[in-house]
Amino acid sequence: MTDFLKFLGKPKLRNPAMVVCWDSDAGQLGAKTVAHLKRELGAEEFCDIDPVEFFPLGGVSIENDVVEFPESSFYAIPDRDLVIFYSTIPRYEWFKFLNLIVDVAQEHCRVREMYTIGGMIALGAHTAPRDFWATFSSPQIKKSLAPYELSRELDFETPPGGRPTLNSFLLWTAKQRNLQGANLWVPVPFYLISADDPRSQKRVLSFLNDRLNLGFNFTRIDAEITRLDEWLANLRREQVEIDRSITKLEGNQRLSDTEHEKLVKEVEEYLKKQEG
């Protein structure tokens, strides 16, 4: 399996935690979480997974005139004893890919616990507090994370025709190899899933900060929350229909399909314009 791993260095780690994020989830939660961790803590890449077995490489995609290419990289922050894995979601050979992540965690870094981050679509308003919950690989790690109030005592089975998430698949793979972990989920309001949701990001980062003693300063992300709130308040003032829809969501009422679509479209366009 090591043929698929390319090591760029050997960071000095003791018994680190690992945070796993993917490049495409609701509200870009994974990408934003990793960006924050790298920026604030100065992470250094030390390993990556060769893409050839796991991604279609028949060409490249372009986003805003920039060529995209699959990325699957491990970063280390030795002074915080932390490893980050950030990746494009693989298209093939998932089990092999997930085992490579666990290989690096166990055999190269002696990771003690692993956290996956996932944004999920919520039907509530952006003004509501962000919920935060987790699924655990074992009752032991559930107990050790009890002070963070992550558990909702969830009972769940994938419905017929559905598929488990890649994070669940990873947690199961890690569990088979006796690596403890938790999948962390933050619901992102549906009309912010293609934009940023700094409130969700702060929810994840606050947990990591408390659990892993990262010493974060949240000034920047707080400013982003304030800015987004102001933009959306302005949009509500400018467009009565949007205000009516968000007010309905705040009152726990459901939107019609037309209202739902219009809210998504108008918010997306408005935020794009604001961001220039």
Binding site: P56, F95, T135, S151, D155, E157, R163, P164, W172
Partner: protein, 301 residues
């Protein structure tokens, strides 16, 4: 990745019958129906992790307690004349963009199935799938057959309601079988193991419908039952066929009049005579709309 055999029964003169899902789920229903009818017993499985994405996660009290994967299981049954080994795969391993199994993973699975056939001394492999045909859903489907050795063809011709692929009207002597039902008989050929693929006819205009077509499975079951002397009740699928006939007739009645008119001409044409084809435009329309009939809730079916 591993093959796990829970039992290794001594079998006499066995053949193997193999089924995977595909168009109309014809192959899978065929094999699973026979397996249940003869009350075959489970004997082993292929570990799923390297072949499949999981199908179900089970969480209890926020703890991930289990993960389920599509199964690929072997069964056996001792019968008076010959024993039978069954292989039933809940999914075909898809490794790249194709909706059908292909490439290294599919070949690997085909070889693992054949390893079991060889281990138990199976004399012949039967796979089953769909034959997309210019036919009408009110007709009894025929069973198309191909073999991986020329010497088997003469025997196949003796079975009722069966036609060799090259003898199907307008097909000529070229053809192909997509997915593992084809790949397995090809791989068997490479390993010098006799193999036959039996394909139940499904009308071209129903080949994209996301529902089973048990009428074709019934036709294949009849052939296999006779070929292997299985004594499976020929009416075993009558209930399911009745239900699907109602659903399909309802969909059919919603087709545009001009397409239906062309298809109705097929109804009057006897089996084994060239039938009216639908135009490319009709095919495009069906391709674009067939799913809609199944999404209309109380307006549709």
């Amino acid at each position: 990745m591993a093959l796990i055999l829970h039992r290794e029964p001594a079998l006499t003169n066995p053949d193997m019958i193999v089924g995977w899902p595909g168009i109309g789920n014809i192959g899978l229903i065929t094999v699973d129906t026979i397996r249940q009818a003869v009350q075959a017993e489970e004997m082993g499985e292929i570990e799923p992790w390297d072949f499949f994405y999981p199908s179900k996660v089970i969480i209890r009290g926020s703890v991930l307690t289990d993960m389920e994967f599509p199964t690929s299981k072997f069964y056996y049954k001792r019968l008076a004349n010959r024993d039978i080994v069954f292989f039933v795969g809940e999914e075909q391993p898809v490794s790249r963009e194709s909706m059908y199994a292909e490439g290294a993973r599919a070949y690997e699975m085909a070889n693992m199935v054949l390893d079991v056939a060889e281990k138990f001394g199976c004399g012949r492999i039967y796979t089953s799938g769909a034959a997309v045909a210019i036919t009408h859903h009110t007709h009894k489907p025929r069973v198309w057959a191909v073999a991986n050795q020329k010497k088997i063809l003469a025997e196949l011709k003796t079975y009722p309601n069966m036609v060799l692929m090259s003898e199907v009207e307008g097909r000529g002597d070229q053809g192909s079988i997509t997915g593992l039902n084809g790949l397995l008989v090809g791989t068997a050929k490479k390993r010098k193991c006799p193999g036959v693929c039996l394909m139940g006819e499904i009308p071209d205009y129903l080949s994209r419908v996301p529902f089973p077509y048990p009428k074709a499975s019934q036709a294949v079951i009849e052939v296999l039952s006779e070929a292997l002397n299985l004594n499976v009740d020929p009416h075993v699928l009558d209930g399911m066929i009745g239900q699907m006939d109602t659903v399909l007739e309802s969909v059919y009645q919603q087709f545009p009049a001009e397409i239906k008119e062309r298809l109705e001409q097929r109804k009057e044409t006897p089996q084994a005579k060239p039938r009216a084809t639908i135009t490319e435009e009709d095919q495009k329309w069906l391709k674009e709309h067939i799913d809609d009939f199944f999404k209309k809730g109380d307006k549709g079916v």
